[in-house]
Amino acid sequence: MPHDALLEEPPGATTHPENDDLRSLEAGLDRLQTDADRAPNAWRRFTTSVVPPIVFVLALIAAWQLYVVITQPRPDLAPGPLEVAAAIGGAWESGRLQLAVATSLERGVLGFLIAVVVGTPLGLLLAEVKPLRRAIGPIISGLQVLPSVAWVPAAIIWFGLTDATVYFVVLMGAVPSIVNGLISGVDQVPPQLRRVGTVLGAGPGRLATLVVLPAALPGYVAGLKQGWAFSWRSLMAAEIIAVGGTIGFGLGSMLDQSRELADLAGVLATILVILAIGILIELVVFAPLERRMLRRRGLLQGGAR
């Protein structure tokens, strides 16, 4: 039966009154059942979700400054916001801040990318090959429980104070997250979608590429996001603990240095930078990625958050 024959209307069918009736009825119902798109009000979103935290942080800083001005505490135990700002400025001027941020970011991003390259095929393999998964899955989940900071001493013994140590720790932190994210993403693919794929005539290969992988994307992205968080955490741990040797100067090293100089303003400044980078990466890289994907799938919850 050729395709076109199936769709061919009997002559005059489109003008058949009963059919027209049905069409107008369906159109009316469709109109009633779909809400007009409400344009998200950017200004409102800004005032309700961006302004309050900023105001709160500013108030916090003001209170802190006030406290410092009034009680005049020992500056080495309670530096004021101005001193912390000065510490950031100083580090910037001397170029140490840029160097540290560049080094840490490079390591974090590179380590994360390696983790993605390692974790993705591993995750796919575990998700699709049942016996492997039974055997290795629990071990990977277990590794996720292990604080990656615990790997630092072992890595130092193996690789000395070199960048290999840092990358090893980052990998041990990020890979289990990514693998588990991908596995749970594949698990959450509704079995119905696989069956539809089969019914539509997809073989295993096209089923995987056209159905399973796109369907598992939300879990995978969530895993990537968490993997990044773990990369960043592990990196900081490694940098703080493993200082010296041929290890470059990252944010963790900067933190440790400030601590050795008993420079609390410098410590707090570095913490703020680390926090800012973490939030920034999340806002700039993962949040839009996730939001776009969820919006396309209609999984985004109402903007109450």
Binding site: L6, L7, L22, T34, V196, V199, R296, R297
Partner: protein
């Protein structure tokens, strides 16, 4: 799957039995033959094995005993949940079916739009599933099933999750498509009136194990509405039988 069947028989099921693993027998000695172009409604209480039977016909599962003959081209299937790919638009969902059928890229877009127009959804072609109402989603699923261009269409409670007004409309839509395309349709449902409204033949299944417990044929199906007196009369008859089957399980 299996060999091409004789001239007018689209699907022939013989002495079919099915059990899952070591569980109880789900289907037992089911015999049924469905003619090409026939519209058969499979009716039964929850858990009586309707979906199992449909999956066997679709080739998604293998029987424990007996044989099923279906056309070599296979069957298209529609499920209760539209099961559209949530990351594709309505058009892309239909195009996916065309692509997996082997339609060349250039012809897909036009084909998909034509099929969507068939179900009166040309305007919604670029919307994603979550932007569509339940009824619209099922119409996209219908268009997708039509895109497969198979002589048999299997439908597993496709309208059960819809509201009554939409369901009534989709009954008319489905009947129109059936008349125009001449498909063989096997339609699974709980709803006695729906079965009496749509089918040329209604097959009632018993529960635990599933067997054919009764059959009704409707001579004249043109111009039927769900409120028609013939539908009501048939419904009463089937309902009585169905309730008898259900009561059997009370003890």
């Amino acid at each position: 799957m299996s060999s091409q069947t004789a001239d007018h028989t689209a699907i022939r099921i013989e002495r079919l039995g099915k059990r899952f693993g070591a569980g109880p027998l789900v289907l037992d000695d089911v015999n049924l033959s469905i003619e090409a172009g026939e519209f058969v409604c499979l009716l039964g209480a929850s858990g009586c094995g309707k979906s199992t039977l449909l999956n066997l016909i679709a080739g998604l599962d293998r029987p424990t005993a007996g044989t099923i003959d279906v056309p070599t081209q296979g069957a298209a299937v529609m499920f209760q949940e539209s099961a559209l790919m949530p990351w594709l638009t309505a058009r892309q969902n239909v195009e996916l079916a065309l692509r997996l059928r082997g339609v060349p890229r250039a012809a897909r877009r036009g084909g998909a739009l034509e099929l969507l127009d068939t179900v009166n959804l040309a305007d919604a072609a670029e919307k994603r599933p979550h932007e569509l109402s339940g009824g619209m989603r099922q119409r996209v699923a219908l268009a997708r099933a039509l895109a497969q261009d198979r002589p048999v269409l299997l439908m597993d409670e496709p309208f059960a999750a819809l509201d009554a007004i939409t369901r009534d409309l989709l009954h008319e839509e489905l009947e129109r498509v059936w008349r125009r395309t001449g498909r063989t349709i096997v339609f699974v449902t709980h709803n006695v009136r729906e079965a009496a409204r749509l089918g040329q033949r209604v097959v009632l299944m018993s529960s635990r194990p599933g067997r054919v417990a009764g059959e009704w044929r409707i001579a004249e199906t043109e111009g039927r509405r769900i409120e028609s007196p013939e539908v009501a009369a048939l419904s009463i008859e089937i309902t009585t039988q169905l309730r008898k089957e259900i009561r059997r399980n009370a003890a």
